[in-house]
């Protein structure tokens, strides 16, 4: 995995799952686009445990194009893992991720790179005119709006795989589960500058979409987890105290009503119920605050510190041999 000696300008990371029909065309398209750019580059295909012989197609392709790099997973580990494996393997200063189903257009890579040159750390593609069925576009619109509000990073299209990252921003992230959607939001925790740019989108040619309808609950659960992590993972006590405030209010109200009931006797002796309610919600407050304290303990014992990107990397780096930016 360690290939520190060969540094490239650009790494293209493509997660593939059951895309055997698309692989050769995809490789050809990416390659012809990249040849136009004055850059050293590498293309990394990650086979995420495909069952339709995608790996055989990749091996055949590798025989003809030795420059291709490919990683094969033992079993299907999900798109996030595929991307993380690609990021860890990539040696480029800039990493671009691309969907394996040809719905992204490789010609957009140069537009993304322009934006990176302007000084952004992450440039996300925005499929302004989506060529998908309405039933997929609508949930995705809602999800994007919710993610934007929940995470505080406003993007129109979190779901677009076509994104460009500066390597040091993305390599230090801890991503797991199905977090690939949230890379820009996650990276913004460390101070990365995120922007988006409209890209082209093509209808699917081969194969079927790998997404189902049951994803919606999962995605929303992930959004909740993500927004909580982004907001509170460095200060959990704050988050839990925030949750406890309504209960504190309830405790106060019930206690007050109980006292009034005793003093004014408007319940005809049945005032214990108020005190039971006070005790219950008071217990909730104590429990939540205790959880928050444990959370602080967990965070303080972890070796993950929320380091900000060093200022030097925020400079506009030049890319390409002709500009003398790298070898």
């Amino acid at each position: 995995m360690d290939r520190a000696n060969e540094i490239m300008d650009l790494s293209i990371v493509v997660p593939l799952y059951n895309e055997c029909e698309n692989v050769p065309e995809l490789y050809g398209k990416i390659k012809s686009e990249l040849e136009k750019l004055p850059l050293t580059y590498e293309i990394i295909f990650i086979d995420d445990g495909s069952t339709d012989g995608t790996w055989d197609v990749i091996e055949k392709l590798k025989a003809n194009h030795p420059a291709l790099k490919a990683i094969k997973f033992r079993h299907n580990c999900g798109q996030t893992s595929a991307m993380v494996a690609g990021f860890n393997y990539a040696s480029g200063e800039i990493i671009v991720t691309l969907d394996g189903d040809l719905q992204n257009d490789p010609s957009d890579i140069s537009i993304l790179l322009e934006k990176i040159k302007e000084g952004y750390d992450i440039v996300s593609g925005w499929r302004k005119e989506r060529k998908d069925h309405f039933s997929r576009v609508l949930p995705s619109r809602i999800a994007n709006a919710v993610i934007s509000v929940a995470t505080g990073v406003k993007l129109h299209d979190y779901g677009c795989t076509l994104k460009a990252y500066r390597a040091e921003c993305i390599k230090q992230l801890h991503a797991y589960g199905e977090m690939h959607r949230f890379f820009p939001a996650l990276a913004s925790m460390t101070g990365a500058r995120v922007t988006e740019i409209p890209v082209k989108h093509h209808p699917r040619k081969h194969g079927t979409s790998k997404y189902g309808f049951d994803r919606i609950f999962k995605v929303f659960s992930d959004i909740l987890a993500m927004s909580l992590i982004i907001r509170f993972s460095s200060t959990p006590l704050k988050g839990f105290v925030f949750c406890a405030i309504p209960f504190l209010f309830l405790t106060f109200c019930f206690g007050l009503m109980g006292c009034l009931a005793v003093l004014l006797d408007f319940t005809k002796g049945k005032d214990t119920i108020f005190f039971i309610a006070t005790a219950l919600s008071g217990m909730g407050v104590i429990h939540l605050i205790t959880l928050g304290v444990i959370g602080e303990l967990v965070v303080s014992t972890s070796d993950l510190t929320h380091t900000r990107l060093p200022e030097t990397t925020k400079k506009t780096i030049t890319i390409g041999k002709d500009q003398g930016g790298s070898n």
Binding site: G49, R74, H174, M257
Partner: protein, 314 residues
């Protein structure tokens, strides 16, 4: 590098174990592959020492390890892993479970594609009540994990060293090694085997039921397995589903009480149902809070655990 490490767990002071080990030694000697014999005395070190001093010739052929206190099988295996030189581990308990010809069958079933082989005992010589319990247990595990496994109760396993290195085995989870390895993408194989009849005379039947604590720990094991298979990297999904159900019930109750107050003039706050609603609300928020704490733990401490296994890089 040897081909096999033949490992025995010596948990009980079982006198037959020496004969069992000798039989296995014979069996492996008759095969072409290289092997080593290893015995782990788990809290039975003194017993093992006595037994081996009585037979110094055989003692020279095996490596013995003594665990200082009663550790689980998973911990034993993990801690001696680096002392074993075999490419494959053949693990058995202190009682012989399978007929010798079944061991041969298991060893023959190994091919390049298979990572772990487990036996499926066909004609068990146990009281029917045991068999029934085992059937229920295995069916339950099948239902929860979705993997088609029939005999997890048998502790005989043959697996690649890599399987043990790449799975996070802990506590009582050795039993579920096939499930854990399948989750990590290793290829399982189940081979139909014959249950060991005993030497000559049939084995004595044991009492009908286990100790109550064993059932309890099995149920807890299955719950652990369920959490491990489904939610280990996304605890919020588990806790938030409990929390959402509880909060929804609470809101429904409060809504009904509110309607009754409006239309029938019943005092809302003085009814026991109101306490139930408050209780459920507290439970709901607390379990969501637990889920959040879980997410924070995974996020801050899960960095060392890589989720994917790379098979090949070209």
């Amino acid at each position: 590098m040897l081909k096999y490490s033949v490992i025995f767990f010596l948990k009980d002071q079982n006198k037959d174990v020496l004969r069992f080990m000798k039989d296995m030694y014979e069996l492996f000697s008759s095969r072409p592959d290289s092997f080593e014999m290893i015995v782990i005395a788990n809290g039975t070190g003194g017993f093992l020492k006595n037994m081996l001093t009585g037979d110094p010739e055989f003692a020279g052929k095996i490596k013995a390890f003594e665990m200082s206190n009663k550790a689980s099988q998973a911990v034993c295996l993990k801690s001696i892993m680096n002392e074993c030189n075999g490419e494959f581990f053949v693990v058995s308990g202190s009682y012989q479970q399978l007929m010798p010809e079944s061991y041969v069958k298991l060893l023959d079933a190994r091919d390049d594609d298979t990572d772990i082989i487990s036996p499926w005992r066909q004609h068990r010589f146990d009281p029917s009540i045991y068999k029934m319990q085992s059937t229920v247990f295995n069916a339950w595990v099948r239902w929860i994990t979705g993997f088609n496994m029939h005999d997890l109760s048998c502790n005989v396993r043959i697996f690649r060293r890599e399987v043990l290195e790449r799975t996070d085995l802990y506590g009582n989870m050795y039993r579920f090694l096939p499930v854990f390895s399948a989750l990590r993408g290793f290829k399982n194989k189940e081979v139909k085997c014959e249950h060991f009849k005993g030497h000559g005379e049939p084995r004595k039947a044991r009492a009908g039921f286990y100790h109550l604590s064993i059932y309890l720990s099995r149920i807890i094991d299955i719950f652990t397995l369920y959490f491990n298979t489904s939610f280990i990297k996304k605890p919020l999904r588990f806790f938030s589903s409990i929390g959402i159900i509880s909060i929804v019930i609470s809101i429904t109750i409060n809504f009904i009480l509110f309607l009754q107050k409006i239309f029938y003039g019943q005092n809302m706050a003085l009814r026991p149902m109101f306490i139930l609603a408050i209780f459920l609300l507290v439970v709901g928020v607390q379990s969501a809070g637990m889920g959040l704490l879980g997410e924070i733990i995974v996020f801050t401490h899960g960095r060392r655990k890589r989720e994917y296994i790379i098979e090949k890089i070209i």
